[in-house]
């Protein structure tokens, strides 16, 4: 039986993997090759595979903890980890060099809140420590648990209206669903966002 999904549909998009720190080196080079028969080649280790290896083998996390740290599912983490070990073994056995690059990733940063001016800010340069508030230069800031970009909150805050360009039917916009994918229940026409695009209540 042929899997029809694999024939006619593109695969599900990958979930972004959360990386806490970029690797401090960009690869490894072998030395002392005993059988010098041309170039042995290169293994490209993705940054997400490096991160999985770091969490599982260096930090000694189990796969469940590691998957939560990277914000992916446990089976996905296990697949990434297996790929990482396979690639590193290949590099060791065949004497290939390792280059760490690529992968569908984003770097996480921590958030701070300043009690003098009431602003929130993050620290994209992890190597450097924050010494003062970037806005008011005071040092009355503290670590802030990231809760304010919760989707639930944005869902209640969004007060937009989807409108049907054909018959004028209006309905409240649903968060996460593009208006043009909404279908008007009266005339089966695709809907659009009403008025100025973002009229949120703050």
């Amino acid at each position: 039986m042929v899997n029809h999904c694999s024939l006619f549909m593109s695969p599900r998009p990958l979930r972004l993997r959360k990386i806490s720190n970029p690797p401090i080196i960009s690869g490894f080079k072998p030395y002392g090759n005993r059988k010098s028969e041309g170039e042995p080649g290169t293994v490209f280790l993705q940054i997400e595979e490096y991160e999985a290896l770091r969490l599982c083998d260096y930090n000694m996390f189990n796969h469940h903890q590691a998957s939560e740290t990277m914000d992916i599912s446990r089976p996905t983490l296990t697949r990434i980890y297996a790929r990482a070990r396979q690639k590193i073994a290949e590099a060791l056995v065949l004497g290939k060099q390792i280059i760490i690059e690529g992968g569908k990733i984003y770097f996480d940063s921590e958030w701070f809140s300043c009690s003098s001016c009431g602003c929130y800010f993050n620290n994209p340069e992890k190597q450097e420590e924050i010494k003062e508030c970037p806005l008011c230069k005071s040092n009355n800031f503290s670590n802030y648990e990231q809760t304010y970009i919760e989707p639930e909150e944005s869902m209640t805050r969004c007060s937009d209206i989807c409108i049907c360009p054909n018959c004028g039917f209006e309905q409240p916009h649903r968060f996460g669903c593009p208006c043009k994918e909404e279908i008007c229940p009266k005339c089966r026409h695709n809907m659009v966002r009403k008025g100025t695009p973002h009229s949120r209540n703050f």
Binding site: G118, C119, P124, C136, C179, P197, H198, F202
Partner: protein, 105 residues
């Protein structure tokens, strides 16, 4: 160092815009030369993708910090990989001049 501030209008008397992707104007302020550049936001009325397009516009000016009232859900990972600092300042009454004074103090 360059700082981007989202503004409702094109003068220093206008208020801080509480949206990032669909703000009225971007103000690029240089803390060393004290120079200012006003860029009208072409993505103001975009149906979708205003945030990433605005990130691209602001990043092309080599800013290191962005001050705005709120950032959308698609923005954070982009700015993290570009190493641009986000400053969330939820005070719609503050004028651009007041924010620039805070940066200079």
């Amino acid at each position: 160092m360059k700082v981007a501030i989202t503004s409702t209008g094109n003068s220093v008397q206008s208020n801080l815009d509480q949206r990032f992707g669909r703000c009225g104007f971007f103000i690029i302020y240089d803390t060393e030369t004290k120079g200012m550049e006003f860029i009208p936001n072409p993505n103001k009325d975009a149906q979708e993708g205003a945030g990433p397009a605005s990130v691209q516009l602001v990043a092309s000016r080599n800013v290191q910090k962005i001050i705005s009232g709120e950032f959308g859900i698609k923005i954070k990972s982009l700015l993290d990989s570009l190493k641009i600092q986000m400053i969330v300042f939820k005070e719609p009454e503050k004028t651009i001049q007041e924010i620039i004074n805070m940066l200079n103090s």
